[in-house]
């Protein structure tokens, strides 16, 4: 029994996988008397690089990605994460412990894809070596019974056997098959590009991973909200959000500067899409180096600025109403545009906060909304159109302690009113030029006008180009492996019972993913018939086989099988 299992394993294309491998290891280990660590490691490695493990890991990775799309993610929408905390106060910390809000940076997620790539590398590299080796070997000998092959045909000819064989070989040579001749037979093989494509695809995936890592280590992302007329330089002091890669220091930032001269937005005026934006344009002026020449650029969505290897994108816009605040002592303590953030898209109603920490005798704070086209809808204020046709501002006023002097950093868009008291001033909408006068001589706020702001995303990713190349290489490999079929053709000549020569043809295909080998076989049979000058002794025959789980004799469940377009471990393992 032992002998037959092992002999079947060595010939029937059965790989040393799963049980087979384990059993063989166990047997040899038992024979040698020890069942050591090496044997376990080898077994573990075989498990990892097996197709089944790859399947499991692919599913695991897919499953692991699901929470990352359903739960709000910190890196994508921190505000949504805060809202989730507010809505699920008990559940949120538990989820956070398992990196529920940073799934794709979670260690367990990394473990899955690292394992998958290890499995991939462990499978691909030996196969690449095997391919290199088998590419140098000659095709196998022609089998005795060509009729058993899936594709077979016979041709009768009056030519001599040697001549017939030469003509047949000539047909293959013209089609650039690799040939091997023997006594009365010819064996031809073609289609190595299939495996090349397969390996290229998987190796390119490794390249993709490396590119992502490169970007993650040396790249950075930043955001900056810029009001019309303002400038900023690419330094951490200027950025609203700065997410550097692990190996990025502030000295690595490219030293460009940008001024937003003017922001223009155009909206659909009428029709069913009234209010929908038509286009945006941010007129920029920028310098690539400190003190370098200034250039102009029209920044639009889908039209980023490329400066010194860094890309600047237009990702948002809004309004920044301008306020002047005079405090209780009569000093002008505030005179600037304050960015308000849109809370809805159809009318661009925007919310914001004005903090006046240096007002005397009390610090002042104001919170409210800016309405580009203010209308009264049943007693409530709303904005009917996103362009600033009828701009109004409605603010609630506070005085007290803003909490800024304590040193605890605050968001510039949040007003902490815990130590402030609300002023009994009506939040009636202000038109440009109108003011709120605070009671007790605490000061006065004037709504001067408005400007617009644009928010820019700044990204630097050195892995971007390598990632693109890897992705395209993967695609090329994929298409190649699906299109090319690896096939073998055999010719055997023999004497016909009634004189003349019988030329037998046999064909075998291993990776007929896109189909069509039948047609190719028919073509070859026809050419060979013409070449040897014969007539068909038998019609070209095709033997459909039963697709019973595609098992070769002796194969066990879990073993890879030859599949058109699929992995070909069995064949590879046989060193062919």
């Amino acid at each position: 029994m032992t002998a037959s299992v092992q002999s079947q394993g060595s010939q029937g294309g059965v790989p040393d996988e799963g049980q087979g491998g384990g059993t063989r290891d166990a047997r040899s280990a038992a024979a040698s008397g020890k069942f050591g660590v090496i044997a376990w490691l080898r077994w573990g490695w075989r498990q990892l690089t097996s197709m089944r493990t790859a399947l499991v890991l692919l599913f695991l990775l897919a499953l692991a990605s699901i929470p990352g799309s359903v739960l709000p993610q910190q890196g994508i929408d921190p505000a949504a994460v805060s809202r989730y905390y507010a809505q699920h106060p008990a559940l949120a910390p538990v989820l956070a412990k398992f990196s529920g809000f940073d799934v794709f940076g979670a260690p367990w997620f990394a473990a899955i894809y690292l394992l998958l790539f290890t499995s991939l590398a462990g499978c691909v590299l030996p196969r690449a070596l095997r391919l290199a080796k088998s590419a140098r070997q000659a095709p196998p000998a022609t089998p005795r019974h060509l009729g058993r092959l899936p594709y077979s045909a016979a041709v009768r000819t009056t030519a001599g056997p040697g001549q017939a064989l030469e003509s047949a070989a000539g047909v293959f040579a013209r089609r650039r098959f690799r040939l091997r001749t023997g006594d009365g037979w010819v064996s031809a093989e073609k289609g190595y590009l299939h495996e090349v494509g397969n390996l290229l695809f998987h190796v390119a995936l490794l390249g993709l991973l490396a590119s992502v890592a490169l970007g993650g280590l040396f790249g950075y992302k930043a955001n900056r909200l810029l009001v019309e007329g303002d400038s900023f330089a690419n330094t951490p002091t200027a950025l609203d959000v700065f997410r550097p890669g692990r190996l990025v220091a502030a000295t690595d930032l490219q030293p460009f500067s940008v001024t937003l001269r003017r922001f223009t937005a155009s909206y659909v005026q009428s029709g069913p899409e009234r209010g929908q934006p038509s286009w945006f344009s941010a007129a920029l002026r920028y310098t690539a180096q400190v003190g370098g020449p200034a250039r102009s650029y029209d920044l639009r969505v889908n039209h980023p600025l490329n400066v010194d290897g860094v890309q600047v994108f237009l990702i948002g816009h809004g309004y920044a109403p301008v306020f002047k605040v005079t405090d209780g002592t009569g000093h002008l303590v505030f005179d600037q545009a304050v960015p308000f953030i849109p809370v809805e898209q159809s009318g661009l109603t925007s919310a914001g906060v004005v903090k006046v920490p240096d007002a005397s005798p009390q610090q002042l704070g104001f919170a409210g909304v800016f309405l580009p086209t203010a209308v009264d809808v049943g007693g409530r204020l709303a904005s009917a159109f996103p362009a600033a046709v009828f701009p109004r501002v409605s603010l609630v006023s506070y005085a007290g302690d803003l909490g800024l002097n304590s040193g605890q950093p605050q968001s510039v868009y949040d007003l902490d009113t815990r130590h402030m008291h609300r002023m009994p001033v009506s939040p009636a909408p202000l038109a440009p030029g109108q003011s709120i006068t605070l009671p007790h001589g605490l000061g006065k706020l004037t709504f001067v006008g408005y400007r617009q702001w644009a928010s820019l995303a700044i990204t630097y990713d050195p892995g971007q180009l390598p990632a693109l190349i890897s992705a395209l290489a993967a695609l090329a490999g994929l298409i190649l492996s699906f299109l090319v079929r690896r096939r073998r053709m055999f010719v055997r000549v023999g004497a016909a019972p009634d004189g003349g020569t019988v030329v037998e043809l046999g064909g075998l295909t291993r990776s007929d993913a896109a189909g069509g080998f039948e047609a190719e076989f028919a073509e070859l049979a026809g050419e060979i018939r013409k070449a040897v000058g014969g007539s068909a002794a038998a019609e070209a025959r095709r033997q459909p086989a039963s697709l019973v789980a595609g098992t070769a004799a002796g194969a066990r469940p879990g073993d890879p099988v030859e599949e058109p377009g699929g992995e070909d471990v069995a064949m590879a393992r046989k060193g062919e």
Binding site: L61, S65, L149, L508, A538
Partner: protein, 357 residues
């Protein structure tokens, strides 16, 4: 401003297409009920018969193949033959099988003609919509569904001609008609402009590739469902539980053919999907500054890609082919549908261009 006349024409054309498809479906059904089956169609997964015209030297009969243990011939490994289409009947077929690529039977012919006509009308609907809006006509959910159903029917027609898979007509048109009906009644959005984020030539590349890939995936999913039904039916037949001639399933090609056809669909669809995802990444980098940000739609595209990759790996693993692989493919299709519908409607992200709600 969109051209209202053309927009109206587009709406009418789409409804007309639905009607034509519905009539075609009736014709397909009649074909199953009344059409003569003959040799075109049934290839059961049993041992093939051998063609006469002279025995090959040393040939063995085809019945040897199943379960045969081969002699030590290193080249005797492949078990699979090419089963291109149902037309090569159970007679073991000649490789030069002279089979007409066109359908046989009046009902089937009529149904196919109607399918092609409906497709043409749907194309007109989409084109006029694009002309009305002066842009590529896939910018919101309504247009997208119209496009992917069109792609599915296009794949149906192509597969029917190339693989003689005319029997698929009824089964593909059913979800197409349902989807289009929902699209027109519930999801309809009037012709309009694209938001600035979509104003790029990339929409012609990325979204078009997605549409083509999804059309192929739809076709593959329908075939897979048929495969599962047929495989189950064949098991019952083998166990002697059901009479051979009962129902539509008996008239379909064997499960082996369907399995092959489903696999072929994915072989085309998977590279198309890969390309579509890559194109999306390039566009994302161009528009948002990063080629991959785990936006929900990106994540679900990735999940879909992984599951279909698992399907391809399963096809190469013994014990995982057949029913298990088919289920994996359907799971992948479910992820795709969630990506299309669920992510657009329930999960907001940078990709929320559905134009709904």
């Amino acid at each position: 401003m969109p051209n209202t006349g053309l927009a109206q024409l587009s709406n009418v054309a789409l409804v007309t297409a639905i009607v034509i498809y519905a009539v075609a479906m009736v014709c397909y059904a009649f074909d199953f009920a009344f059409g003569r089956r003959g040799t075109a169609g049934v290839v059961a997964a049993t041992a093939p018969e051998q063609v006469a015209a002279g025995a090959l030297v040393g040939a063995a009969s085809g019945a040897d193949l199943a379960g045969h243990s081969f002699p030590a011939d290193p080249a005797d490994l492949s078990q699979l033959a090419d089963l291109s289409g149902a037309g090569t009947a159970g007679s073991g077929g000649t490789s030069q099988a002279v089979q007409s690529p066109w359908p046989t039977g009046t009902w089937l012919r009529g149904a196919f003609v109607l399918t092609c006509l409906g497709l043409a009308v749907q194309v007109v609907a989409i084109t006029t919509r694009g002309l009305a809006e002066h842009r590529i006509p896939w910018g919101n959910m309504y247009e997208f569904i119209a496009a992917i159903t069109c792609a599915a029917v296009l794949v149906l027609v192509a597969a029917a001609v190339r693989f003689r898979a005319y029997f698929m007509g009824l089964f593909v048109l059913l979800p197409v008609v349902v989807a289009l009906a929902v699209d027109v009644v519930v999801i309809y959005t009037p012709a309009g402009q694209l938001v600035p984020a979509l104003q790029s030539y990339w929409i012609a590349i990325h979204v078009t590739a997605m549409i083509i890939a999804i059309g192929m995936y739809i076709f593959g999913a329908v075939v897979t469902v048929l495969y599962l039904l047929t495989a189950g039916y064949e098991q019952k037949v083998a166990a002697g539980e059901v009479s051979k001639a009962a129902g539509i399933l008996a008239q379909l090609p064997g499960s082996a053919t369907l399995d092959r056809l489903a696999y072929r669909s994915i072989l085309f669809a998977f590279p198309a999907w890969t390309f579509a995802v890559i194109a999306g990444a390039i566009w994302a980098d161009h528009a948002w500054g990063r080629y991959w940000g785990w936006d929900p739609k990106e994540t679900w595209s990735f999940i879909t890609w992984l599951v279909y990759a698992a399907f391809l790996h399963a096809r190469a693993t013994a014990g995982w082919r057949g029913r298990r692989a088919a289920l994996i493919q359907l799971f992948g299709f479910a992820c795709l549908m969630f990506n299309l519908v669920g992510v657009n409607l329930w999960v907001t992200g940078l990709h929320s261009y559905a134009g709904i709600g």
